[in-house]
């Protein structure tokens, strides 16, 4: 019965629990696609702070008492009493024993002293050796310096001597050059004076003033006058020449024109030639004026033979004077023997710039200009 009751109680408890669980609010169902997971939110580690219960307890002993001093241990007397006594000289002999010790002590001291003295002596020996070496070194060094100095002095002396010699030779050369130059100049200039005078004289610097005067002044004037006179005569002749043909023409108008003409011009040509040559070979006329060329008069006539030759010569002479244009081509003077038809004399066309009123060598009608200025 009881068991049943217990079971019932249990069942009721269970049922109560279940009912309570159902009533208890539970977490809602998870949303679609999610799942509930258990997570621990508590700390993983827990600090155990367990305080052990402590209780203070005391206890006390009684105070110490001083330990009493140990009593002196006196062992019981046992055995026999024995006594001994060391007499003087029995234990050890001080003098003997002390000897090695003293030896050591003194020896060490002396050894130390000896060491120091030896040290100083060694140093002194070294120093003495060094001094001796220094002496010899000084001597040698002094010797070296002396030799150097000697060498330097000798070298400088040599240089100076060489320099002196060089200068002497130089001066010697210069002097000899000067002497030779002077001798040469003297010789050269020795005949300078005569040659100067000679050349001056040759070039006519030394002239007799009177002679000069005559040459420069008088003679030209004379020649001028001579020329003038000759020109006058020439002019006269020319006029005559002109008159004669006219007259002859006029008379020939009545008589046949032959023979007489041939002679006349020939004579005239010949007579003129030496005169011109003379004139061209002699002094130039002042002003360079020329008399009317004879050939010019006979320009219009074509004459073969001697007259032609004379004309050519006259042309040649004129060419030398530069009046070549005066004569035309093909105009020749008539010859002595030839009876040729003479072209009728026509006045030549005027040379020179047309329309000039200047007084050139040609007159207005193509005739040569006359010196006598009769127009």
């Amino acid at each position: 019965m009881e068991m049943q009751r217990q079971q019932e109680v249990k069942r009721k408890a269970l049922a109560r629990k279940r009912a309570q669980e159902q009533l208890r609010p539970q977490t809602p169902e998870p949303v679609r696609g999610r799942k509930h997971v258990d997570v621990q939110t508590e700390l993983y580690l827990e600090e155990i702070a367990d305080r052990i219960i402590e209780v203070d307890m005391e206890c006390q002993t009684d105070g110490f008492l001083d330990r009493p001093p140990t009593p002196l241990f006196i062992p019981a007397k046992s055995g026999t009493d024995v006594a001994t006594q060391i007499l003087q000289g029995e234990l050890f002999d001080f003098d003997l024993e002390v000897k090695p010790m003293l030896e050591v002590l003194v020896g060490k001291t002396i050894e130390q002293a000896l060491l120091e003295v030896m040290e100083e002596e060694e140093l002194a020996n070294l120093r003495a050796g060094q001094y001796a070496y220094e002496e010899i070194r000084n001597i040698e060094l002094a010797e070296v310096q002396r030799l150097e100095e000697q060498e330097r002095r000798h070298r400088e002396e040599k240089e100076r001597r060489k320099q002196q010699q060089w200068e002497i030779i130089h001066k010697h050369n210069e002097t000899s050059q000067k002497i030779s130059a002077r001798a040469f100049a003297q010789r050269y200039l020795a005949d300078l004076l005569p040659s100067v005078f000679g050349s001056l004289r040759d070039s006519g610097y030394f002239y007799d003033p009177i002679e000069r005067d005559i040459e420069l002044g008088f003679l030209p004037w004379v020649m001028n006058e001579v020329e003038k006179t000759m020109e006058y005569s020439m002019v006269g002749r020319t006029v005559l020449d002109m008159l004669i043909p006219e007259v002859v023409e006029k008379e020939a108008g009545h008589v046949r024109p032959e023979g007489g003409q041939a002679l006349v011009p020939e004579i005239r040509g010949r007579a003129r030639r030496p005169g011109r040559r003379e004139r061209s070979a002699g002094l130039r006329l002042p002003g360079g004026r020329r008399g009317p060329g004879p050939a010019a008069v006979f320009r219009g006539r074509a004459v073969p033979g001697e007259a032609a030759a004379g004309g050519r010569r006259a042309r040649g002479a004129h060419r030398a004077d530069g009046d070549e244009e005066v004569l035309g081509e093909g105009r020749t003077l008539p010859t002595a023997g030839g009876r040729r038809a003479v072209k009728p004399w026509r006045p030549r066309e005027r040379r020179g710039p047309p329309g000039t009123r200047a007084r050139g060598p040609w007159g207005p009608a193509g005739y040569p200009r006359l010196l006598c200025n009769c127009e």
């Binding site: 060491l115 040290e119 120093r127 002496e135 010899i136 001597i139 002094a142 010797e143 002396r146 100095e149």
Partner: protein, 340 residues
Amino acid sequence: MASARISMYLPPDVNPTQAPIAYGCRALPKLNKELQSEHLLTRQKALVALCDLMHDPEYVYEAINIGCLESLKALLKDSDDVVRIKTTEVLYIMATHNVGRNGFLECDVIPALSSLLNDPHPVCRMNLHQAYKHLAELPAGAQGIVFSGLIPALVWKVQREEEDIQELILDTLAPCLQVDATEALSSHAVPFLKQKLLSTNDDIRSKAARALIAISIPLEGKDQVCQYDVIPILVHLLKDKEEEVQANAAGALMYTAVTTEGKYAALDAEAIPPLLALLSSPKSKVRLNAAKALTMLAEAPEGRRYLQSHVHAFRVLEVEHNEAIQRAAQIAISVIEWKP
């Protein structure tokens, strides 16, 4: 009688001022450590112990190896007098050994020592100058002193120090000037040495003359010696009682007379008669220097003329045992009898 009980007290020190020296190879390292301690007494005692030990070259070698010099250099700047005095003494003893000298040069002890040149304690300075003197006897040491620029300071000190320190400085200067004299010449060494030549102390005179020999080796030195009129004083010293002074004076004349100016200055000061007297001196150095000086003077025409009547003195020298003197005499005779 000796008691069997061990005493409570330490055994009495042989030298209470000395630190106990450890046994064997521990001695020096321990002393080195004690040198660097801050306790004044420890340092002093260690220094005294070191002084004793440094007489042995093996200990010197070991001390340098373990770097005692660095600690000693640091102690040089110490404020306590005793420490400085003892340090300089240790260094001076080390300088008497070649190992020590080489160690000085390697560890640059010279500049460190030079800071004590103006120390108020004379003993300290004396030790210092003794150290320098020993150092200067080594050619490399002399070079080291020259390169560290101490020469002007030393030259200046010659004037102002006490006599025995002056001797030491002059002894130091002589080898240094042989290495390089230019610095000294530019710091007026010649006038100072000239003054020292007139001092009453024999040693100072001879050492000053020796320094003058060294200074008149370069041309600049010769010129300065002539310029400052030292030659008459040197001629006067030729008649000195001391042989060493005579020898050194003759040596200085020998060098100065190489230049033409020096020759004529010496001839003007009538150096030839005293030099001739010196040719018969008992000391070989005197004879050598005198012979050489006369050789120099014989290069000048006036000297040659005077000496031609004294060639016999040189002939005597020619038969000497000393080879150097023989050679010097031969050269002298050849110079005197030279015809242009």
